[in-house]
């Protein structure tokens, strides 16, 4: 409910933002690339298509059991996190500076991925008997 509402607001905000961008008024978000290396696709394509790539990959992995990619690189969410996590916080989320939120907070996109997915790179969960 709340999230659906947020999505609606996000869509409206995005439309407004793009209008504003056309007008040339609003500053672009600052995206920090902290780790060297090459993204799984050219930056331009990533900017436009990363959501589709992620959704495609998640269905492939979860429903068909495909891990990694035969050629090139898979759009694994854990993969993104390993490369894009901030050096300071170790995470891709939490604060406008963080990689995944840099654009999203600007475009008012709210992800539910972090309800489940661990946003920190190299994190090891502790186990406890329930």
């Amino acid at each position: 409910m709340l999230r659906t509402l947020l999505h609606l607001i996000a869509a409206a905000a995005l439309a407004a933002a793009s209008l504003a961008a056309q007008a040339g008024g609003v500053p672009k978000p600052v995206v920090k690339i902290e780790n060297p290396g090459k993204c799984i696709a050219p930056a331009d394509e990533m900017r436009r298509n990363h959501m589709e790539m992620l959704k495609h990959q998640r269905d492939l992995t979860l429903r068909e059991g495909v891990r990694g990619a035969a050629a090139g690189k898979a759009a694994s969410l854990n993969g993104c996190i390993e490369c894009h996590a901030s050096k300071q916080t170790g995470s891709v989320t939490g604060g406008k500076e963080s990689f995944c939120e840099s654009c999203h907070s600007y475009a008012a996109v709210k992800l539910d991925c972090w309800d489940c997915h661990q946003p920190k790179a190299g994190y090891k969960a502790t186990g406890a008997k329930p």
């Binding site: 429903r63 068909e64 050629a71 309800d115 994190y123 090891k124 969960a125 186990g127």
Partner: protein
């Protein structure tokens, strides 16, 4: 089946595969060599195959009352570490059940978890198709599609599923889990896809109990198939004809 024959077969096949390294690294030897045969790593980019059907054999004669190594290992592996005020709302992917035959008084202790049915009722009833069976027989919840209606929990004859009642944090990166979705034993799918065994099986074996055996039920030469052929095994609630992937020996 004689132990010798099995051993020679295994050595041959292990050598053939050339994947002994994994097994040898962790004692006690022979069992794990078998495992490396039973569970080859699938190459990157390839989907799970229906030629395989993953299963588990529980030897209840070796499963001790009060031992919960498998439960602990599961919790550690899958990051089931949240504190819940009302324990009834807590998740349990695997649990130990103590049973006593009413007539004879005979007692058993055994682990209970998702039985990875070939005809899973949870998959039948799920309105969105979030409950699903992978080609290799592993029953999973696609938590990107689960709406949290809990119909599958009503349908499961084993109470194998849990609903996440509260927001979580500190998940294991390989095992995402979170608020409002139904979850259950994944047979450690993230490990199996890497050629490892489920955490419960590994811990049981490492501790020397050897009550759990994981393998391919479709492969007549896998140890699990051979054990199932040699000794009487049973499926729980066999009357429901669900054809479970988890089999029990000794009850």
């Amino acid at each position: 089946m004689s132990h010798n024959k099995r051993r020679s077969f295994l050595v041959a096949s292990a050598a053939g595969l050339g994947t002994v390294a994994l097994g040898v690294a962790v004692a006690p030897g022979i069992r794990l060599i078998e495992v490396s045969h039973a569970n080859p790593v699938r190459p990157a980019g390839q989907p799970a195959s229906s030629a395989v059907r993953w299963g588990m054999l529980v030897d209840t004669t070796r499963c001790a009352t009060g031992c919960d190594d498998c439960v602990k290992a599961c919790a550690a592996e899958n990051g089931i570490n949240e504190t819940v005020a009302d324990k009834r709302q807590g998740a349990q992917w695997i649990r130990k059940i103590d049973i006593k035959e009413a007539k004879t008084g005979r007692q058993h202790s055994l682990p209970m978890m998702c039985q990875h049915c070939a005809n899973p009722p949870c998959v039948d009833v799920c309105p969105t198709g979030a409950s699903m069976k992978r080609a290799d027989g592993i029953v999973l919840v696609d938590r990107h599609v689960c709406i949290g209606c809990r119909y599958c929990m009503m349908a499961c004859p084993y109470k194998a599923r849990s609903f996440v009642h509260q927001p979580l944090s500190g998940q294991n990166p390989e095992v995402p889990r979170g608020l409002g979705c139904v979850e259950s034993c994944t047979l450690c799918v993230h490990r199996v896809d890497k050629g490892q065994q489920p955490a419960c099986v590994e811990s049981c074996t490492t501790a020397g109990h050897n009550a759990l055996l994981f393998g391919d039920l479709n492969d007549p030469n896998s140890e699990i198939s051979r054990r199932a052929a040699a000794a009487a095994t049973s499926q729980i609630r066999a009357d429901l004809k669900l054809n479970t992937g988890v089999r029990y020996q000794g009850i």
